[in-house]
């Protein structure tokens, strides 16, 4: 056992962990943040995606101890003051989900994507989401949701 300190959604957490504890289990089982899902457990589906220092990262293929001192954002951390984040709102408005299992990962990946590339083409969106698998939607409405979010985000950010 050793201790690890990680900032998750703006709060510093210091916990005793086994080095082999995967970060997704740290989030779900230690912190109780179950919005981050485990789909494949093999780094393929993207359901476990979180932001580490702003970059989309699959938390099932990462040890918690590797994140000492880093800043993490999960799906629980993006709505502000009880108001959905524009990307969340866009997924709602454009029906970018059905069962919702892939949605936390899709939304987090979209946040990172739009951060790097605020006006992506449809092709860039589809390539950008290559690491996230959805069993339900056929992706069509997910792409529309990302496009909608790209349109709404600048206003929401106040620029």
């Amino acid at each position: 056992m050793g201790t690890v300190s990680i900032n998750v959604n703006g709060v510093d957490f210091t916990r005793e962990v086994e080095p082999r504890l995967l970060f997704v289990h740290f989030l779900r089982d230690v912190l109780g943040l179950t919005g981050t899902h485990v789909g494949c457990d093999t780094s393929q589906c993207g359901a476990c995606t979180v932001l580490v220092d702003g970059e989309a990262t699959k938390s099932c293929t990462l040890f918690a101890v590797q994140l000492e001192g880093r800043k993490v954002t999960t799906i629980e951390g993006i709505a502000q003051a009880g108001k959905l984040h524009p990307v969340q709102q866009a997924f709602w408005d454009k029906h970018g989900l059905q069962c919702g299992f892939c949605t936390p990962g899709m939304i987090i990946t979209t946040c990172a994507l739009l951060d790097k590339n605020p006006k992506p083409t449809e092709e860039e969106i589809r390539h950008g989401l290559e690491g996230n698998i959805c069993r339900c939607t056929g992706y069509h409405n997910i792409v529309k949701a990302v496009q909608e979010a790209a349109e709404k985000l600048p206003a929401a950010r106040g620029n």
Partner: protein
Amino acid sequence: MIPSSFDYHAPATLAEAVALLGKYPEDAKVLSGGQSLLPLLKLRLGQAGHLIDIGKIPGLEYIKEEGGMLRIGGRTRESALERSEIVQKRYPILVDTAKVIADPIVRNLATVGGNLAHGDPGNDHPATMLALGAQVVAMGKSGERVIPIDKFFLGLFRTALQPDEILTEIRIPAPVEGSGGAYVKLERKVGDYATAASAAYVVIGTQGFVERAGIGLTNLGPTPIKATAAEKYLIGKKPETAALAEAARIAAQATEPSADRRGAVEYKREMARVLTGRALKKAVERAGGK
């Protein structure tokens, strides 16, 4: 899936990391991006008593051109390679390669050094580095040494790195006038390892003849393959359709694929021929030879 227990070390310097590897000779592994190592540990196909995380060591992530070489820090991530301006402008073959490795999220963690050090014939960078004639820099307890890439891949998951050595840099000769390279991969779906893939690099002289050729093949044998006979064949030839096709045919003969869910031996060998033909054609185009 949960790996078996290990001790975790996060050294702050390269010297400390090398010392730790030396301290646990049979039982320590370097942890870089973890995108090959963690799946192995989770599936318990691999095991280590000590993981030496090199992620906290400063100065191992960079991409710069210096002294006629492109120098890529051993811990440089695929996403950084893909986005690098100098790579996009001068080394399109590296962009070809990085963007077909796994998916964009995995590429935020996976490193170029790890992709070589893993010694997996299914990894994509080895073929490209073989085609380009790269060098690998390794740091061990007796200092630094430079390993030519064609002496690096020794067997399945086996490289020339000693157990206490860390891959610190990859060096690629800077492009010369009339040079061009390309990587072409066939995969069943995004994020899959290659059914077959081919990297080609050519240098065409002012008279229009091939002066240098490099061909590397992915997932077509127990190690990444350098198609030396095909490379030799091209030297002194005009890079025209018939010559490129013949080189591709010779390259395919160097493969030793095994049958699996990605295809039969004959199919993979045929794909090696087709993909090498395409990679050569694109390399020649990029070299300005149309």
